[in-house]
Symmetry: C2
Subunit: 384 residues, 2 copies
């Protein structure tokens, strides 16, 4: 295993009814800005639970954070905070709201244009403290220090990470997910699955614990994912989904191992240009990445085939192809289509996407930096 | 899964050579007290590495912390700190040194007799900050907030836990374990194995991730434990051992699941009265606890048999017996004897041990509180 530093100070409150404990987590006297998305929390009762728990605080709201949160929208929150002087942010929603809130927290006291945090890795020296109430298990943002923001004007989607933007706490109540549309549940399962794969399907470094943990998450998602769709109010199933998605990207399974974020980086460009859901792009790109990088990932693909899919007979090539096919079938079983053509897109978009990758410096992706622009082009062509 | 709160703010620096980074972790200007054990760190070069890394700090040492650290010894460190005004503690050693340092950190500013922290759960309101350099993977103390202290005068061994005694950081360099005697390596593997079992072999609550993670740790310990003995300078093997032992007791696999600490509690009494190594007592007691609680633990024992030992044929009883036998054989394979009689003890000690359990309030142990004093007596008799 490689040397690593692991530090994750986010406090997790997991279980039904934990929203009521908010007042134990936010220091008394803080002026709180509740950030949220498209308003579903006002329909399913979560907003009311949060409002009740915030009784005694001075607080206000900022709504309208989009899926793939935009710089343009988030800067309005930044202005509001600068004017009205909030002390603490509370993100109530899924990964987009939490990612957006991280950017807001970092931008409020940033000198200069906060977009530089993404494009120029401009250093952050302070951030507003914030917590989250997670309503959509998927991205892991509730227990990590990463964020992905979209610049609408330039159709650019870029990530940033900083130790100052770990949530102070996150409340994970599986029952808050009962009212999610099936498509969002499926997106979450696919997102968590792909996060896990991207930290696992690289090359072996004899990191036995990280491998077993990653396989444990994948097996759980495969076992409980379909049931999360067919039996939406099964709390045990939703709890397993929620905790799997958090642990898929809290730094633990990726500590000390190579990582390959090619699927995410290529996927981001598809979302930025054509508006597909983040998870849809992952379901499209991952099978092609695995197919393209079969040789580079051979040993781990064989381990994945055996330990995750129970495939232990046949030639190496047969086993690997079968495992990739099983992966695609799992996404389809979750109701997520895995071809660009399923979304009305064709090979004509490939050059434009490759241009975007080049513009964003994504010219050598993958754990061995073998995914050049030419390889990305092939991967996209295989994904049509 | 049950509701849970998970919070682990300890920063882990893992890998060869990380001791050199100490100065990034301890604030400049702090007066540091380095705590250590029986002096092996002065022979194997670790003390010199730490001393070099502390260049620029005002620092001093406190040595002589015993395996099963005693209140009597630790209070001498407390006196030294009160007199000489140290700001930061640095534990260099295994679980005993780190456990002892946690007690020191909590005791320094405690009003009254700090032994009350253990016997009366007297509340701690402050603790000195501390970090650790781990040299013996075993207890997980380097990434948790628990500590076990022995009162020599009264032959009592008691645990305490407090959020204030998480290490600020822990440095895990697998190469520091190369010079450990085989017996200590074996003890560490058995300790980590039993920690995992005690959070796993209870009753099912459909906590799929926690189960798979626990199984992943057990499989790693079974695969790499014997190799840690036969190939002591294999860094990859030692790295897997070290990370497994840390994750076995950092709160993660025990979050949201029932736990059964009967083996540890019974084992503590054997150590307190007869001086056996902690891990030796666990290797003696665990097989008998599993045998005794076969009915209560049936479903998880069958899962353990299948997923950890690959036992999937035969009657339920046969599979369970085989899994318990395999567990005992694994401890013996690590060179740790599993019967009281192997250590020159016989059934005559049982009443005295049961008395001690009663005195310490250990009258209903186990995940269902079915391990009464009478059951503990049977377990001890089965362990002769």
């Amino acid at each position: 295993m490689y040397p690593f530093t692991f530090h994750n100070p986010t406090r997790i409150l997991f279980g039904q009814g934990r929203i009521a404990e908010l007042a134990n987590e936010i220091p008394a006297g803080q002026k709180v800005l509740l950030t949220y998305g498209q308003g579903s929390i006002k329909k399913n009762g979560i907003f009311d639970q949060v409002a009740a728990a915030l009784d005694g605080y001075e607080w206000s709201t900022f709504g309208g954070i989009e899926p793939n949160p935009t710089y343009e929208t988030l800067m309005k929150a930044v202005e509001k905070i600068r004017l009205e002087k909030f002390d603490f942010l509370l993100a109530v929603g899924g990964g987009s709201v939490i990612d957006g809130t991280k950017f807001i927290a970092a931008a409020v006291n940033f000198a200069g244009d906060p977009w530089d945090i993404l494009t120029k890795r401009a250093p952050i020296t302070t951030a507003l403290p914030f917590g989250s109430v997670l309503t959509l298990p998927a991205t892991g943002s509730e227990m990590n220090n990463g964020s992905v923001i979209t610049h609408k004007a330039t159709q650019t989607k870029l990530p940033f990470m900083h130790p100052l933007v770990f949530p102070k706490f996150s409340i994970l109540d599986p029952t808050t997910t009962f009212s999610l549309p099936a498509g969002q549940v499926a997106n979450g399962v696919v997102d968590a699955f792909v996060h896990t794969v991207e930290q696992y399907l690289t090359y072996p470094v004899d990191a036995k614990v990280q491998d077993r943990f990653a396989e444990g998450l994948l097996l759980t998602l495969i076992e409980d994912g379909p049931q999360a769709l067919s039996d939406p109010e099964n709390e045990a199933v939703r709890a397993n989904m929620m905790w799997s998605a958090t642990l898929a990207l809290n730094g633990l399974i990726g500590a000390g191992v190579p990582q390959d974020w090619a699927t995410h980086m290529i996927g981001h460009e598809i979302t930025a240009l054509y508006g597909l859901d983040h998870a849809q792009t992952l379901a499209i790109v991952l099978p092609s990445v695995l197919q393209s990088q079969k040789e580079q990932k051979k040993e781990k693909l064989l381990q994945y085939a055996e330990r995750v899919w129970g495939i232990s007979t046949g030639s190496e090539d047969t086993r690997i192809d079968k495992a990739i096919r099983k992966t695609r079938e799992f996404f389809e079983q979750m109701g997520i289509k895995t071809r660009l053509s399923d979304y009305g897109l064709d090979a004509t978009i490939v050059p434009k996407l490759v241009d975007q990758l080049e513009q964003h410096g994504m010219i050598k992706l993958g754990e061995r930096r073998t995914v050049t622009l030419e390889v990305s082009r092939q991967i996209l062509e295989m994904s049509v």
